[in-house]
């Protein structure tokens, strides 16, 4: 049973087809990269998978349950957790409370939520800032915090949109290490990133999108040498 099944998803904004029949499958425990040039539909795909947009056509299934068009809070409760490209934390709540929101909303008891929040704060080197308002954290720390919010209750799949963008190398390493450890425990991930070295290092498999379609979906190294992928990034003339 695939963890996530996406079949022929279409989404248009006015005359622009952001997604034009994109399909792929992710098995439980996989760590998959999602790449593609700007405007290829990666974020639109994540928005549909996390319920922030409804597809015009096509099917999305989470462990064989159709979920296309469900609302974000319902999907979060089904275990689809998502990190945004433009960081979203609760700026006037403490770092600890930011984690507690996710924990309590997903049904944890107070003690259990506090215990898990404490462990995540330690894992993500945020423990000293537990009682600081999240709005006063650095940009990288906010990313780490938002990342942590996805793991208060281990999700069925974590959708990470550019988690490493503009993040200090030390924090990038904290996050990558966390992803590797969780992947070893069979946590499923879909990671959107422009940072090819990180994708190569982290993701065994990569999906490449262009113009709303999946143009390559295989072993990461094979994807990066794929003719269609190079063409999408650099244009026909480069080949």
């Amino acid at each position: 049973m695939p963890c996530l099944f996406v079949d022929g998803v279409q989404k248009a904004f006015g005359g622009i087809k952001a997604l034009d029949g994109a399909s792929f499958t992710i098995e439980a425990g996989e760590l998959v990269g999602l790449i593609g040039p700007n405007g290829s539909g990666k974020t639109t795909m994540l928005n549909i998978l996390s319920g922030h947009l409804a597809p015009d056509a096509g099917a999305v299934a989470l462990e064989e349950r159709p979920v296309a068009g469900m609302r974000p809070e319902a999907l979060a409760r089904l275990g689809v957790m998502r990190m945004f490209q433009l960081t979203r934390v609760f700026p006037r709540m403490s770092t600890l409370d930011n984690l507690m929101v996710a924990g309590r909303a997903l049904g944890l008891e107070q003690d259990e939520a506090e215990r898990r929040a404490g462990r995540l704060l330690a894992d993500l080197a945020l423990a000293p800032f537990a009682h600081l308002d999240a709005g006063h954290l650095s940009g990288g720390q906010m990313k780490l915090l938002e990342f942590g919010c996805c793991f208060m209750v281990p999700p069925r799949i974590a959708l990470l949109d550019e988690p490493f963008a503009a993040v200090h190398p030390t924090m990038k390493e904290i996050m990558a290490g966390f992803i590797r450890r969780r992947h070893a425990e069979r946590q499923t991930f879909l990671v959107v990133s422009h940072d090819m070295p990180v994708i190569i290092e982290l993701c065994p498999r990569t999906i490449c999108m262009n113009a709303g379609k999946v143009i390559a979906d295989e072993d990461t190294r094979a994807v990066l040498t794929d003719r269609a992928v190079i063409e999408a990034y650099l244009g026909e003339a480069a080949i």
Binding site: E73, V89, A105, L106
Partner: protein, 317 residues
């Protein structure tokens, strides 16, 4: 939240205790009356603060729900001779239900659109009551039966209601609901993606805020014994908003302290008529721009400095 909330609770209780002791020293009926009205305003400001300060929904109709509460018990008594013991709970329920409906209508509206829609709602409600002369007696005003002979009895009844509202809100904000409301205030999209039922909790905040306002309005109606559509004037809403903003938005102490300060000041400035509203409006702009947590935020600062937010790194966390 922990220690910060506890300080707010202690200061709130201290204010309520001082208010409870005032009649022992102030025999003047007029000033006791001023305090009673201040307490009504404190409830209205606390209710609006739940919606605006904690949930981020800037409604411009706080006085309207007070008016709805006042007219609910007033009309029940006038037309059906319903006793206040049923009229006041009915006011809470009716105001709460209308708040729920308004909350559903404005669910997807934000910022200025939300403010304008609630403002229109406020004016519509006031005009409906003002023009339904056969039913409400319109601008002639509606006589409402009193509860007690003694002003002191009103004083302690309304103080009790205010204390219940204040403690109830403290309790509510300590539960996960407090987390959800503040999360919605800070970022609705992020709240939804962390699993918070945004639609549910926003509607809940609207309904609860309206119900508390309805209680305040109903108690005021039985105290004043004469109500008119002027209860729902925009200037009344402005007064409630200025109390919460000057006292401290998104804090428990703010609206409570702000209500007494602003209403007391407005009594002194009574001779200046509507000019007093200009003074409060300027203060609101000043506080909203420079001191977002109001007077209480300013008072709290020295304490916050003593307790640094960043702890020394300790693996024990």
């Amino acid at each position: 939240m922990g220690s910060r909330a506890r300080i707010e609770l202690i200061v709130s209780l201290a204010i309520l205790i001082v208010v409870a002791l005032v009649p022992a020293f102030v025999a003047n009926e007029y000033w006791r009356g001023v305090l009673i009205v201040s307490m009504v305003f404190a409830m209205l400001a606390a209710a609006w603060n739940l919606l605006a300060g904690y949930t981020g929904q800037f409604s411009l109709a706080p006085a309207t729900f007070g008016m709805i509460g006042a007219y609910t018990t007033g009309l029940l008594a006038y037309h059906l001779e319903t006793p206040p013991i049923l009229g006041i709970p009915a006011a809470v329920v009716v105001a709460g239900l209308i708040g729920l409906v308004l909350g559903r209508i404005v669910l997807r509206l934000r910022g200025p659109y939300l403010a304008l829609t609630t403002l229109s709602f406020a004016e519509i409600m006031r005009l409906v009551i003002s023009n339904s002369i056969d039913f409400t007696r319109g601008d002639l005003g509606l006589n409402v039966p009193g509860l007690f002979q003694s002003r002191l009895a009103y004083y302690y009844l309304i103080l009790g209601a205010l204390a219940a509202v204040q403690l109830g809100l403290y309790w509510l904000l300590q539960t996960p609901v407090g987390l959800y409301l503040r999360a919605i205030r800070d970022d609705e999209i992020a709240a939804a993606s962390r699993g918070v039922k945004v639609v549910w909790w926003k509607t809940y905040a609207f309904a609860l805020s309206a119900a508390i306002s309805g209680l305040a309005g109903a108690l005021y109606a039985h105290f004043a014994q004469l109500i008119s559509p002027e209860l729902g004037l925009i200037s009344q809403s402005g007064l409630i908003i200025s109390m919460a903003v000057i006292g401290g938005l998104g804090t428990l102490v703010g609206p409570l302290g702000g209500a007494f300060l602003v209403y007391y000041a407005s009594e002194f400035l009574r001779d200046f008529g509507n000019y007093q509203l200009i003074a409060f409006a300027l203060l609101v702009i000043l506080f909203a721009r420079f001191f977002r947590e109001g007077l209480w935020g300013l008072l709290r600062r020295p304490f916050e400095r003593m307790r640094p937010a960043i702890a020394a790194p300790s693996p024990a966390e």
